[in-house]
C-alpha cells in the first residue's frame, strides 16, 4: 500500500451521517434504529480501515498528526457508543453521537485532507514511546467526553426524572481519569523532550482548563447534587472546551504542540541568527 485511499474516510463519513439520520428519524421505529446500529458498525469498520491504511503507509501507529488523531478519536468514540448501546439497550443518544462523529470526519476532510497522504518521517521530538500513550489516553478521554456530551444532549431534551444521569457521571469520571493520565504522561514526555514538564503552552493550559471544568462537574454532581439541566449543560460545556483544546488551540494559538497541526513545521529548529 503506497498511498492513502480516501474512500475509506468518505464511506465512514456517509455511514455515520446516515446512521445519525436514522437514529434521529426512527426513534419510535425499531427497524430503523436497528438499521442505524448496522450503519454505525459499518462506519466503524471503514473508520478502522482508514486507520489501518495510515498505519501501513507510515509504518507506525496512527497517532502523530492532527488527522490521525481525529480518525482515532472518532473511532474510539463510535466504539464506546456501540459498547454503550449494546450493553444498555438505549439508543436515544445515537443520533447526537453519530452526528458528532460525522462532523469530526468532515473536519478531517475539510481542514486537514493534505495530511491523509502525508508520509513525512516523524520529527525528532515526536520519536518517543511517550507519544503513543500520551495521545492514546487523550483520544480515549476526548471520546469519553464526546459520548457523555451526546448523552447529556438527550438529557436536556428529556423531562422529569433523568435515568441516564448516573451513566453520564460514570463516563465522565472514567474519561477524567484518562485525561489526568494523558496530562501527566505528557508532562513526563515534555520533561524529557523540552526540559520542562509544564510550560503553560496553550495546549497544556487548555487541557488544564478542560480538566478543571470536569473536576468541577464531578465535585458538584456528587457533593452538591448538581443534577438535571445544570449538570448536562456543564458536560456539554466541557465538550466544547475539548473541541477548543483540539481545534481552537491548533488553529488560533501557536505553541510547542504546533506540529499536531502541521507535521512539517519544525518547532525545534536551527538558529537563524
Amino acid at each position: 500500500m503506497t498511498s492513502f485511499n480516501p474512500v475509506f474516510v468518505y464511506i465512514a463519513l456517509i455511514l455515520y451521517a446516515s446512521a445519525s439520520v436514522c437514529y434521529f428519524a426512527g426513534s419510535k421505529n425499531r427497524g430503523v434504529v436497528r438499521t442505524a446500529f448496522v450503519l454505525s458498525t459499518a462506519g466503524f469498520v471503514f473508520n478502522l480501515l482508514a486507520l489501518v491504511n495510515r498505519a501501513i503507509l507510515t509504518g507506525r501507529l496512527p497517532l502523530a498528526n492532527g488527522c490521525e488523531f481525529l480518525l482515532s478519536f472518532t473511532w474510539i468514540t463510535v466504539l464506546m457508543y456501540l459498547i454503550y448501546e449494546t450493553r444498555s439497550k438505549k439508543k436515544s443518544a445515537g443520533g447526537a453521537v453519530m452526528l458528532i462523529a460525522t462532523l469530526l470526519l468532515l473536519s478531517v476532510e475539510t481542514l486537514m485532507s493534505g495530511q491523509l497522504d502525508d508520509v513525512s518521517p516523524l520529527l525528532p521530538a515526536l520519536k518517543s514511546p511517550w507519544l503513543t500513550v500520551h495521545v492514546l489516553t487523550a483520544a480515549a478521554a476526548y471520546s469519553g467526553f464526546t459520548l457523555a456530551a451526546g448523552l447529556a444532549l438527550v438529557q436536556l431534551r428529556s423531562t422529569g426524572l433523568l435515568p441516564g444521569e448516573d451513566m453520564i457521571y460514570r463516563i465522565v469520571a472514567i474519561a477524567f481519569a484518562m485525561l489526568s493520565l494523558s496530562i501527566v504522561l505528557g508532562a513526563v514526555w515534555a520533561e524529557q523532550a523540552w526540559g520542562s514538564y509544564w510550560s503553560w503552552d496553550p495546549k497544556e493550559t487548555w487541557a488544564l482548563i478542560t480538566w478543571i471544568i470536569y473536576a468541577l462537574y464531578l465535585h458538584l454532581h456528587r457533593q452538591n447534587g448538581w443534577k438535571g439541566k445544570k449538570a448536562s449543560i456543564m458536560v456539554i460545556a466541557g465538550f466544547v472546551l475539548v473541541l477548543f483544546t483540539f481545534f481552537g488551540v491548533n488553529y488560533l494559538l501557536s505553541g510547542l504542540h504546533s506540529y499536531a497541526l502541521n507535521p512539517a513545521m519544525q518547532t525545534w529548529s536551527a538558529q537563524t541568527s
Binding site: A173, S180, Q192, G195, I209, Q223
Partner: protein, 346 residues
C-alpha cells in the same frame, strides 16, 4: 478563637476550593489569550495557586486525619476509593510544592557551545566546583528525504582538568549528570571565511550569520548573511533540506554602510570584492545550543504525578455508580455514605 476557626473553615472548604479552581481556569483562559508569555508569572496568578495549595493541603490533611481515625475498619471498595481521593488531592498538592521549589531554587538557561570548545555550566547553574561541558562533535542524522531524523551533541564533562566521561545528548534523550540536566534545544553554524588584501595579507575568522568581515586595505566589508545547506533556486532564501547537499553562503558587500551587492557562494570559491581584494568561504563550524537546568522540585512533582494518576484511577474507576443508577435521585445520598474527600468539610 471563633473567628480563627471561621477563617480556617473558609480556607479549607470545598466551596472555596471549587471557586479557586474555577477562577484559575477562567484566568488561565484569559491569560493564554492575551498575555501568554507573562500572565502565568504574575503575582496575582501565583497568589491564586498559593491559595489553591493552602485549600487542598488543608483538605487533604483533614481527610487524612479522619481516615487514620477509622483505620481499624476493613479495606473495602469504598475505602480504596477514599484512599484514591486522598492520593489524587495529595498529588496535586505535591505538584504545586514541586513547582514552587523549582521556581525558588531551580536554575535554567541556555549554553551555546561551538564544536571543540568548552563552557562552564556555572554560567547557568551554580556548582560547587567547576563543571565544564565540551562539545566534541555535533551531528545531524538525516532521513532518506533529507529531513532531520535526530540531532546529536557528543559532549565530554570535565571537572577541573579531569574528564568525567563522554555523553551523547539528543532530542528526547537528555544528559543527567549529578542533578544537572542538559537538553538538545537547538543548533547553528559559524561560517569560516578568509579575506585576502591587496598586499597578500590574509585574515581568517569564524562568523555568525549577520556578522561582518573587515579586510585590511579596503573600505569594503563582507556580511555573512545566511548559510543555506541545500540551495535550490525555487526555494529562494530557504534551504530545500537541512542536509548539506548543495551548500551556499549568501553574502553582501558594503562600502561605508552602503550596500553594493549580494551573492551566493559555494565553498572554496575565491570571490573578488574589490581591486585585488578577495574573500573565500571555507566551510562551517557547527555549534549546539543546550538547555541546562537543575530542578530540585522535580522529585516532588514526579511523586505528585504518580499519586495523582494512581488516585484518580482508584477514585473514578471504583466510583460505585452502577448500583446507584437503579435508585431514585433523592435516595442516592443515603445509599452512598462515603463521598469525596471533602465530604466532612461542607
Amino acid at each position: 478563637m471563633a473567628s480563627v476557626e471561621k477563617i480556617y473553615r473558609l480556607i479549607s472548604s470545598m466551596k472555596t476550593g471549587l471557586v479557586l479552581l474555577g477562577l484559575i481556569g477562567l484566568m488561565s483562559a484569559i491569560g493564554t489569550g492575551f498575555r501568554p508569555n507573562t500572565f502565568f508569572q504574575t503575582s496575582l496568578f501565583k497568589l491564586m495557586l498559593l491559595l489553591l495549595f493552602l485549600n487542598m493541603g488543608l483538605c487533604t490533611l483533614n481527610q487524612l486525619i479522619r481516615c487514620m481515625k477509622r483505620s481499624s475498619k476493613s479495606w473495602g471498595k469504598n475505602r480504596l476509593r477514599q484512599a484514591g481521593l486522598l492520593l489524587l488531592h495529595g498529588g496535586v498538592v505535591l505538584i504545586l510544592v514541586g513547582g514552587t521549589v523549582n521556581s525558588y531554587f531551580g536554575h535554567s538557561g541556555e549554553l551555546r557551545i561551538v564544536e571543540g570548545n568548552k563552557v562552564d555550566v556555572a554560567r547557568v547553574i551554580p556548582t560547587e566546583k567547576p563543571v565544564l561541558l565540551r562539545l566534541d562533535a555535533f551531528k545531524i542524522e538525516f532521513n532518506a528525504d533529507g529531513s532531520p531524523s535526530q540531532y546529536y551533541s557528543h559532549v565530554s564533562i570535565l571537572e577541573g582538568n579531569k574528564a568525567k566521561g563522554n555523553y551523547r545528548i539528543s532530542v528526547n534523550h537528555p544528559l543527567n549528570y549529578g542533578g544537572i540536566k542538559a537538553y538538545q534545544q537547538s543548533f547553528g553554524y559559524l561560517v569560516k571565511v578568509r579575506g585576502e588584501s591587496a598586499t597578500g595579507e590574509k585574515v581568517e575568522k569564524s562568523l555568525h550569520e549577520g556578522e561582518f568581515l573587515e579586510i585590511p586595505g579596503t573600505e569594503r566589508t563582507v556580511k555573512v548573511y545566511k548559510y543555506i545547506p541545500n540551495f535550490a533556486p525555487n526555494y529562494g532564501m530557504d534551504s530545500k533540506t537541512l542536509r548539506p547537499d548543495n551548500p551556499r553562503i549568501v553574502f553582501s558587500v558594503y562600502e561605508n554602510g552602503k550596500l553594493l551587492g549580494v551573492g551566493a557562494a559555494p565553498w572554496g570559491k575565491r570571490i573578488k570584492i574589490d581591486n585585488r581584494i578577495y574573500v573565500t568561504f571555507k566551510g562551517v563550524q557547527p555549534f549546539t545550543v543546550l538547555k541546562v537546568k537543575s530542578d530540585p522540585g522535580l522529585p516532588l512533582a514526579a511523586a505528585g504525578g504518580v499519586m495523582l494518576v494512581t488516585g484518580v484511577c482508584l477514585a473514578q474507576c471504583l466510583a460505585p455508580v452502577g448500583k446507584r443508577g437503579k435508585q431514585s435521585a433523592s435516595s442516592e445520598r443515603k445509599l452512598e455514605p462515603v463521598g469525596g474527600i471533602m465530604d466532612g468539610l461542607q
